[in-house]
Assembly symmetry: C2
Homo-oligomer: 352 residues x 2
């Protein structure tokens, strides 16, 4: 338990200026944020302060050496105005896995959990209740220490900001299976939620968008032979009745939605396999009609059905099917998240 | 030519507080910096302002998605107080190569060159004349635009900051040839000076430091079979009388010191090869005595001789030799940089 999370309240609230019926993703911010500084070898107590600009020295290492990591979570409000999180300790654990790989000091559990819940209790009026909307929670951590020597910083900031948000994607997405660019190296930082993993995807994604796709499906950097992940989402493929997703490794993010889906599939009797999926297998399944579904899974988009994929200049449409695993799994997971169904897994976490 | 680079002068100078005889690397900053903003689809005119903190929204994409690139240069002062740069257009070209890969808008040549030279003329009293010291010049660019959607920002900042600096390394370095971690993926961003490429090296380097090494020599991420680069430096190996360095590719930075050394070697009649170097070849050469030298080459350290390398738990010492290529090449390149010798290559650039 962190004692005394100090609260400096904003002079006025912006909440009445917000149109909660027309929220985009991650562009509206609440009145307060949590800030926690690492200095002299330790994390200070978190503080809640008005949401506003951060002042940094030009030589702060975040600007030069990419020491930055983040997490993505959502807070949900049920019919009785109860406030919930979904498996928040998994985000804390992954934050610290990312921190270790990026040579950033790990954050104590109490700083994360007490900071998070204190902030959410203060800002609970900002949690949208409209269907498909939620309060997106963004914990992030970066090097604020200074100097042009390429080495880890001696000061860091951990911040939690909140953004009431609408859907991440609208409608089904068309993806390109990448054959030239790569997201992650063997022995690299692909499994971490490191800032640099995202910037490296933007240019190849722009090229894919110019060709009419929405997203890139990343493949291994050796031969572009196996499907890995979609950058902001893990990828699931359904061939006949079997759901398949790639095993996590040092190139693939250990997605919380991904592993929750695997647990739900098991509980619901959906046959699921965690194994390498070759592009060849997916293309052949598309050709012979056994490819039933593809979807992305991640916190922001939850479950995002894929309508078509492109590979070597050829587009393969996926069938429109009734009772898709995507819709079944999305309903099951969101019913747990919004406290609309029993949670036999113990994933739901009550904030207030 | 950029018209009207506005100058807002610092109220007082810090220069008299600086001990120019005891400078570390990149920890002392001059009175002013250059700032240039990208917004509404264009780069504004650069401005010179007092060196000081930058205020950014918590949702600025630099904190979340790693859109950051940089360059490293040095400004030199000759005996007659002439101020010089070394191949600055190469830095501008590489900045824009990095920008393109990171989906950051490219910077016009005039913004870079006029901004750089205007700032250096204003700050020329900060250029150290002590042997081994120089004014380190750090151009950098990052996403200041906001939002939690993982996509390129709509606003960026380009900044040049100056740091009078002593040597990057002191003495010879002992390196570890990496067998587990990797710096870059095929089809990734390794050739760019992207922030994320540096943060990913810190943890493996910490592990190497714990084992008694100073730096890691990176190898390919497929099999760790070939020598690539040293993270902040390219790597040269001398076997018998032949100098060898790896070819640049999408994993290896196109170092300006690296290519200058190759040109000098050719002019001086040093046999040089640009080809893949296997770790096996280097280990065998160390064992049979044909390995004469290894050194790193980069702007910060210029030429940095390697005293020993470790591989699979065995350390291999390099011989102490007279008339090393490292010392010959370092003298030749620094004589050009400091205007102590004729520059038949046309590399030196007069600032004032």
């Amino acid at each position: 338990m962190v004692n005394n999370i100090s609260v400096e309240k904003a002079a006025t609230s912006k909440i009445h200026n917000v149109d909660f019926d027309n929220l985009s993703f991650g562009n509206t911010f609440t009145d307060h944020m949590l800030v926690c500084d690492y200095e002299n070898g330790a994390w200070n107590s978190p503080k809640i302060v008005p949401y506003g600009p951060i002042a940094l020295e030009p030589s702060s290492k975040i600007f030069h050496y990419g020491q930055s990591i983040f997490e993505g979570m959502k807070a949900y409000k049920d019919e009785a105005d109860g406030v919930w999180l979904f498996r928040p300790l998994e985000n804390w654990k992954r934050l610290n896995k990312s921190a270790k790989r990026l040579a950033i000091p790990e954050l104590p559990e109490s700083h994360f959990m007490d900071g998070l819940t204190s902030l959410l209790r203060l800002e609970k009026d900002w949690i949208p209740k409209n269907p498909g909307s939620s309060l997106y929670v963004r914990p992030f951590m970066f090097a604020s220490g200074t100097g042009f020597h390429a080495s880890p910083a001696d000061k860091y900031k951990f911040i939690i900001a909140l953004a009431p948000s609408g859907a991440y994607f609208s409608g089904k997405v068309k993806v390109k299976i990448e054959e030239t660019y790569s997201r992650a190296a063997n022995g690299g930082v692909g499994y971490a939620k490191a800032g640099g993993n995202y910037a490296g995807q933007f240019y190849p994604t722009q090229l894919a968008v110019e060709e009419g796709y929405h997203q890139v499906i990343w493949t291994d950097d050796n031969n572009h032979e196996f499907i890995e992940e979609a950058g902001a989402m893990n990828v699931f493929v359904r061939i006949n009745d079997t759901l398949i997703t790639a095993p996590t490794n040092d190139r693939i993010l250990d997605g919380i939605t991904r592993k929750s889906i695997l647990d739900i599939a098991q509980a619901e009797g959906i046959p699921a396999e965690v194994r390498k999926i070759s592009v060849k297998e997916v293309v052949e399944a598309a050709k012979n009609g056994s490819l039933q579904e593809m979807f992305g899974a991640g916190t922001a988009a939850v479950v995002s059905p894929i309508a078509a994929f492109g590979y070597k200049g050829v587009d393969y449409e996926l069938p429109e099917i009734q009772n898709s695993y995507a819709s079944q799994l999305k309903k099951r997971i969101t019913d747990i998240q919004y406290n609309r169904a029993e949670d036999s897994f113990g994933w739901r976490f009550k904030v207030s």
